[in-house]
């Protein structure tokens, strides 16, 4: 009765595993209804802190708005990264994910995609509203949203490497930020550059660079994440 030689799983199987993992993570997030809103609320709250801490003067705010909007979005994305693999690690499903007869890079990409869909994308859609509150010139709203959407995808990918490396450590949160914040800096520079340039109408080049960064991250990060996970689980 023994199935003497099980064949490698068919390609349809990989796609099925990818979508099932995607669906699973979305279900989990949506089931705790608040969770989807949380990064958004955090974003809005941090943006509120700055005028209170710095100055309510619209002119002064407009000057620092692109930087504030980007740094706060980056922090919101960062904050939600810590839990990307942690839950799975703690209940043992990460162990099982590594034991699945599917390429780990693909499964990991499903998890990262969900993170971007539920954090980066909503953040970039919400940013123009907060931009208006910070007296950002109206012409740059579109560029703000676009640059954040592109940039946050890179952030999710890069951040996932850090999350994977620290998942086995008890208090990964702060160490994680230490590891990946430096890697975020190029994204931050070109992101704020795009928004600042938008006022003068020349954001195209910056957006192109953000796109190139994303392409690079898409190529390299999945493998790095997979390797990091194997290292963490082994320890």
């Amino acid at each position: 009765m023994s199935t003497s030689d099980a064949p490698a799983p068919p390609p349809a199987g990989l796609w099925g595993a990818f979508t099932a993992t995607l669906k699973r993570d979305v279900t989990l997030a949506l089931r705790r209804r608040g969770d989807v809103l949380n990064p958004l609320v955090f974003y809005a709250l941090v943006i509120t802190l700055f005028p209170i801490g710095i100055s309510p003067d619209p002119e002064r705010l407009a000057l620092i708005a692109p930087g504030l909007l980007w740094v706060a979005a980056l922090l919101a994305a960062l904050l939600s990264l810590d839990t990307l693999f942690r839950g799975d690690f703690e209940d043992g499903t990460l162990e099982q994910l590594l034991l699945a007869p599917q390429p780990l890079t693909a499964l990991v990409m499903a998890k990262v995609s969900v993170h971007w869909l539920l954090t980066g994308l909503p953040l970039s859609l919400m940013a123009p509203l907060l931009g208006a509150m910070l007296a950002l010139p109206p012409g740059s709203y579109m560029v703000l949203a676009l640059s954040l959407a592109l940039g946050s995808a890179s952030l999710s990918l890069i951040g996932a490497i850090g999350a994977a490396l620290t998942v086995g450590l008890a208090r990964g949160g702060a160490l994680l930020s230490l590891l990946i914040l430096p890697l975020y800096i190029p994204v931050l520079i070109f992101g704020t550059g795009a928004v600042q340039a938008a006022a003068m109408g020349g954001a195209g080049a910056y957006l192109a660079i953000l796109g190139a960064l994303l392409a690079l991250a898409l190529m390299l990060a999945p493998l790095a994440i997979a390797v990091s996970l194997r290292i963490s689980i082994n320890g």
Partner: protein, 246 residues
């Protein structure tokens, strides 16, 4: 004494009493809102500075005041629930929170809409605006916390505690925000230094206020009643009641 409080707080008793009160509240709300709207929108004179846009005041001010009162009411219900374990108080708090958040949002939104013709911008980091925004966050926090617990009782107690902590902080927040604002820059526009309103303007405002508050009372009673049916659905008296109504 305790027996009395518990009898007072028993769902069955509350259900019966509120059934009698509710129609009156609805009637008062309809009357005041109807009269106030007509008077405010059609009869009252246009403002000599702001023109017709000032009529937003008839929504804006009641919503803003109600938003703050509801938070206090919610915190008080929470206290009653925590101390005397009266479930009805928690049911009331449960239904108040979303409505309070809606009123806060209504005040913010109407203020923003009003700001465009009067201030030329829809948002300004002014003391009142900022503290209203923070109030909205407090509401959202209470609602989210309640929803985050799997067990209803834990969620209820957590939300009550947060509402209590929040209500202690509201005066502190308000006071500090006002101080902050006066420190940083002189106000471009102040809400308080408006021209004194003629009676033909503030009387309808008062009527609208009465309307908003009785609407809130009526709505809270109604939704608490349906919450009772939902939560106590397996008790005999509720089933008897539902059977009778069918």
């Amino acid at each position: 004494m305790w027996a009395f409080i518990h009898k007072f707080g028993s769902p069955k008793w509350f259900y019966a009493i509120s059934a009698r009160l509710e129609p009156w509240c609805w009637a008062l709300a309809a009357l005041a809102l109807g009269v106030g709207t007509l008077w405010g929108l059609a009869v009252a004179p246009a403002d000599y500075q702001q023109g017709e846009s000032f009529r937003i005041i008839y929504v804006h001010v009641p919503a803003a005041l109600l938003a703050q009162s509801i938070f206090v009411a919610m915190a008080l219900s929470g206290l009653v629930f925590m101390v005397w374990k009266i479930k009805v108080a928690d049911m009331a708090a449960t239904v108040m929170a979303p409505f309070g958040a809606m009123m806060t949002f209504a005040a913010l939104f109407s203020g923003a809409v009003w700001g465009i013709p009067t201030w030329g911008t829809w948002w300004e980091w002014d003391a009142r605006l900022t503290s209203m925004l923070i109030l909205l966050f407090l509401y959202l926090g209470v609602i989210a916390l309640r929803g985050a617990f799997a067990r209803r009782d834990s969620g209820a107690r957590a939300a009550s505690l947060l509402a209590l902590v929040g209500v202690i902080n509201i005066p502190i927040i308000k006071y500090s925000v006002e101080w902050w604002y006066t420190l940083h820059q002189s106000a471009t526009f102040t809400l308080t230094s408006r021209p004194a309103m003629p009676a033909s303007m503030w009387l309808p405002l008062l009527i609208m206020l009465v309307g908003f508050y009785s609407f809130f009372t009526a709505l809270t009673l109604a939704r608490t009643r349906s919450e009772i049916v939902k939560r106590e659905g397996d008790k005999r008296w509720v089933r008897a009641l539902v059977d009778k109504e069918l």
